[in-house]
Every structure is written in C-alpha cells, then in structure tokens.
C-alpha cells in the first residue's frame, strides 16, 4: 500500500513538473522543473529497488546535467533571462497537442492491449545487491558489460574534448 501511495505522489510530481516544464515560457523555470522531473524519476528507480540506478540518476542528471544547463542559460541568454517571453504560435500548439494526443493514445493502447506484459515472473521484493552490479559491470564474461563500460568512458572523454573544441573562442586574426 505504501508503494502505491509513493508511486502516485511521484507520478503527480513528474507529470505536473513535466507539463509546467514544457508550457512555461521562461527557460530558467523550465530547467528548474526539469530538475523536479529528474528527482521524481530517481524516486521511481528507488521504488523499483534499483538503488544504484537512482543514485546514478541523481548524481549524473540532477548534479551534472542540470548544472550544465544552468550555466548555459546564464551564458547564452543573459539579457533575455529576466523577461524571456517566447511567443507560442496558436496553430502550432494546437497541431502539436493533437499529434501528441493521438500518439499517446496509440502507445498506451498498444502497451495495455498486448498480452506480453502478463508473462512476467514474480518479483522478489529485494534490492539488487551492489556486489552483483559491480561484478557485471567490470566482468568480461557472458552477461557482463566491461566493453560497454569502457566504450562509455571513451565516449564521454571524446564528447568533453569535442565540446571544448566547439565552444572555444576563435582567436583574433
């Protein structure tokens, strides 16, 4: 019962913050509401007993990515930050809402109508042990992920260097 109450609270927080995030016209507020959405998703991971995943979500997303966004907003739209009123065209909002409603209805119908989701096994309501995660993350055997792990680390390095190169100021000729 407590699980369901927690899920409802998290769902309300996530959906409400997401709606506010896409409808507010100020970018700084959108970033703040995105932070709430990210915390809500981390809460869902905790609810699913993926504690490690929730911690990674909070530290990488809420700690790292949101900081990047705040920096970028402060750098990019310093003049427009206070009174940024992005104009939303009525027709585009209408068409977008229609498209999203149709797509959402289709996806939910497909997900709920197919019988595949009832083939699941019973869930042991225990946390996934950290030892198992760590062994799978750095092991090279079957169902272990050291290659993907190393690739992700190289990819992050490449992206950081690429970002530095792209955003570097051109030298005066």
């Amino acid at each position: 019962m407590a699980n369901i109450i927690m899920f409802c609270i998290l769902a309300v927080v996530i959906l409400g913050s997401a709606v506010m995030c896409v409808t507010t016209t100020r970018i700084m507020r959108a970033a703040t509401f995105m932070l709430f959405v990210l915390f809500g998703v981390a809460g869902l991971y905790f609810l699913l007993d993926y504690t490690y995943l929730g911690a990674a979500q909070i530290s990488v997303y809420a700690g790292g990515v949101t900081m990047i966004y705040v920096f970028a907003i402060q750098l990019v739209s310093k003049r427009t930050l206070q009174g940024l009123t992005e104009r939303m065209k009525g027709s585009r909002v209408l068409w977008g809402a229609l498209l999203c409603l149709i797509g959402c209805a289709t996806v939910i119908l497909v997900l709920l109508k197919n019988q595949y989701i009832y083939t699941g096994e019973a869930v042991a309501d225990v946390e996934l042990p950290m030892k198992k995660i760590g062994e799978a993350l750095v092991g090279a055997g079957r169902y272990q992920y050291v290659l993907a792990f190393e690739f992700i680390s190289l990819f992050l390095l490449a992206c950081i260097i690429g970002g530095l190169v792209v955003s570097r100021k051109e030298e005066e000729k």
Binding site: M34, L44, L111, I117, Y143, I152
Partner: protein, 103 residues
C-alpha cells in the same frame, strides 16, 4: 504489494509525449534540449520497469538505463557547446535563426 507494471507504462508514455509536445512547440534551443531530456527519461523508466517487473532475474534493462544516463550526459554537454557557439555567431538562441544549412 507491488505496483502493476501498466502504471509505469502509462506514466512513461505520458512523459514521453509531453516531451514530444514540448519539442514540437518550443523554438528555443535550450528548451528543446530540455524536452529531449524528458523524452530520454521516459524511455529510461520503461527500461527499468520492464527489467524489474517482467524479467527480475536479469540486469540488461538496468545497464541499458545506466549507459543511457551516461550517453545523455555526454550528448547534453556537446549540444550545450554547440548552442553557445550558435549564440556567439548568430546572437540568438532560437532555431529559426539557423537556416543556412537548411536546404
């Protein structure tokens, strides 16, 4: 008592399409990037819920989510660098200002 798996699917589908709606309607580059993050989070919820509630013995979905978090961090860093460069060159942070390579 566990939560039925349909709840997660409905939640993630709603979050996904809220993100798509924002991506369609917003014209600010940073706002569009924020909407992309919402979409990525919706997909991550689905991965984790599928793994936990349908295939509790394995860990593929969890690692997919973990790597997806890492990739999206890298993606947003590069995208922010590009946006800063666009702002420096065009003095604007709207997508409508970048039309040179449209055709």
């Amino acid at each position: 008592m566990t939560i039925p798996v349909e709840c997660y699917f409905v939640l993630s589908a709603l979050l996904f399409f809220i993100g798509v709606f924002g991506f369609i309607t917003r014209r600010n580059l940073v706002a569009m990037l924020i909407c992309v993050e919402l979409i990525l989070n919706a997909v991550d919820i689905n991965f984790a819920a599928f793994n936990r509630l349908l295939f509790a013995g394995s860990m593929e979905g969890m690692f997919m989510t973990l790597f997806s978090i890492g990739v999206s961090a890298a993606e947003s860093a590069v995208a922010i660098a590009i946006i800063i460069n666009v702002y420096r060159n065009f003095r604007s942070d709207s997508v409508d200002s970048i039309k040179n390579m449209k055709w």
